[in-house]
Symmetry: C2
Subunit: 330 residues, 2 copies
């Protein structure tokens, strides 16, 4: 696939994160579901924001974080996701371009505002996310750029987009375009509640359209409604070419029909904020796969990238991942 213009093109919700420290008492008082992502409406976003501490704003969005990571690793990345022509939309567009990612969409001139995710980071470095999707979910089939999809080794789809019907159609269109061009399609399941909301659709998508699947323990057990990790992984084998499943501090496992590769987590001096850990793990694995590395090396690059992003606030790398990987892999 060396003739591809891009290593990876991603499709996802274009979101600006608002990050503030919070104690567990606040999470309880606001009745938030700790450690998960909840969708909220505009009014609820305003109410929760007024209860939130002083914050920092930084570009986020699961697939966008992954693409920024791939670019930081030296990969060729493109991104499809929707913002409004407002101040936070300007921040998102700036940051993804500044990260070296080819940003394929123009800002919408009407409709809801740019999406925001209120992230409450507790002292245990866990993050509780409340997302107002705004204009990001207005992404539809027309926004899927056939030229970008056809020219990328891998098209990477963010499961969070599944929360709207038009986006599901856009997903299927992107997958079909990619396969028609002889490319691969990857999907991240994003969140156990997201999987729960759309289990049948996800199963259908995974079985019919996905070559590479990213998930964590809770997401794949939710997908196959089982308590057993091994059982869930067993059900995946044969349905996708490759599944990369993260297990937090226990590292990850990459499974194909012929191999099971266990990858340890990277040692991190102090875990500050776990936001983006899965996104950056995916960045490392996708980069590794598109560069033709063995699975254990691709997985290790994923661990290194995840280790960087959890050592500071925010879901985008703060240092050159290419340099970091070079230093760690020698």
């Amino acid at each position: 696939m060396a003739d591809a213009q891009f290593d990876v093109v991603g499709v996802g919700n274009a979101i600006v994160d608002v990050i503030a420290q919070a104690d567990n008492a606040l999470i309880e008082r606001l009745e938030l579901s700790k450690g998960t992502m909840t969708l909220i409406e505009s009014d609820e976003a305003d109410r929760l924001y007024s209860e939130m501490g002083s914050g920092i704003e930084t570009s986020g969005g699961s697939a966008a974080n992954t693409l920024a990571g791939i670019a930081s690793l030296g990969g060729r990345a493109a991104y499809i996701g929707k913002v409004r022509d407002d101040q936070l939309g300007g921040v998102f567009s700036h940051d993804i371009k500044a990260a070296g990612v080819d940003y394929r969409l123009r800002a919408a001139t009407e409709g809801p505002t740019t999406a925001r995710c209120l992230i409450f980071v507790t002292p245990d470095a866990d993050r509780t996310m409340q997302t107002y999707l705004g204009v990001s979910v207005m992404l539809g089939s027309d926004d899927i750029d056939p030229e970008a999809i056809g020219n990328a080794q891998i098209t990477y789809l963010e499961g969070y987009l599944f929360d709207r019907e038009e986006a599901k159609e856009a997903f299927v269109k992107a997958a079909e375009l990619a396969h028609a061009a002889g490319r691969k399609v990857a999907l991240s399941l994003s969140d156990p509640f997201c999987v729960d909301r759309h289990r049948a659709s996800f199963q259908h998508l995974v079985e019919g359209h996905i070559d590479i699947l990213f998930a964590n323990h809770d997401e794949i057990t939710s997908l196959y409604e089982t308590d057993s990790f091994d059982d869930a992984v067993g059900q995946l084998v044969g349905k996708v070419e490759l599944a990369a499943v993260t297990r937090g501090a226990e590292g990850s496992v990459i499974v194909t029909s012929s191999e099971v590769v266990e990858i340890p987590a990277e040692a991190v001096e102090k875990v500050v904020d776990t936001t983006g850990a899965g996104d950056l793990y995916a960045a490392g694995v996708l980069f590794g796969l598109t560069q033709g590395y063995e699975l254990d090396v691709a997985g290790r690059i994923g661990s290194i990238c995840a280790g960087e992003v959890i050592s500071h606030y925010g879901a985008r790398p703060e240092t050159s991942l290419a340099a970091l990987v070079k230093e760690k892999l020698g």
Copy 2:
């Protein structure tokens, strides 16, 4: 002055900071004046932003940072500064209230956008600031809240506001209201170039209206057009009751007509970003003075606060300064 509702009320430019890492080569290529603050117009802000790396947005503004610091120390703080009813204005308003500061102004419904400061942080932790003042300088005499000024032990004025004639008038009005209520007036000189642009006005203000002056080495030598620090300090004595002058890593000196108190800088493990160092030093000193501490203790609190803010990106404290000071002073 125990009957005051507030310890300190501040008047300043309400600004959202956009912070990105930069190397020295970028500073040179963009022809920026390293380590200083330059005023820019909207077009130039757009141009520089497009050249800037991926960033984080966080509330700033010199006096606003100081007030957030005072609130974090446990002081009673109020703030007067102008934003628009746009997304960044919402961020500023949220953050200053979330910091525990009584925010006295409503967002303007027309006029320029909320002010932005593009901050390029180089590997030496020095910051180069490019400020688009936007609606912040539309602050005029009518915005000066007599009730807040009359009910604060100290009214704190940010020198940067001097870049517009209406703001100068607002300053004088605030100083007169404070003195009429038997209160004190403090001023920070803000930037040697700012002093250079308005030397005569600053001298007039200092001599006629200011009780407490904050400055750094470059600012007071610029104010009195001398190369000698001692000469500049000598000229100040008698004109103000108290001058607190910072000297970077060499600490600070607090001077009155009867005392010269030298204060060491706080040891910091790793200096990340010096943005806000002077603002947070002022927070500590003002808090100390309003709580009736001796000058050496007030200065030490200033050093502790400055030490916290330079150990991370952004100009607002990330931890409880009250707890930090308690830990350090024992």
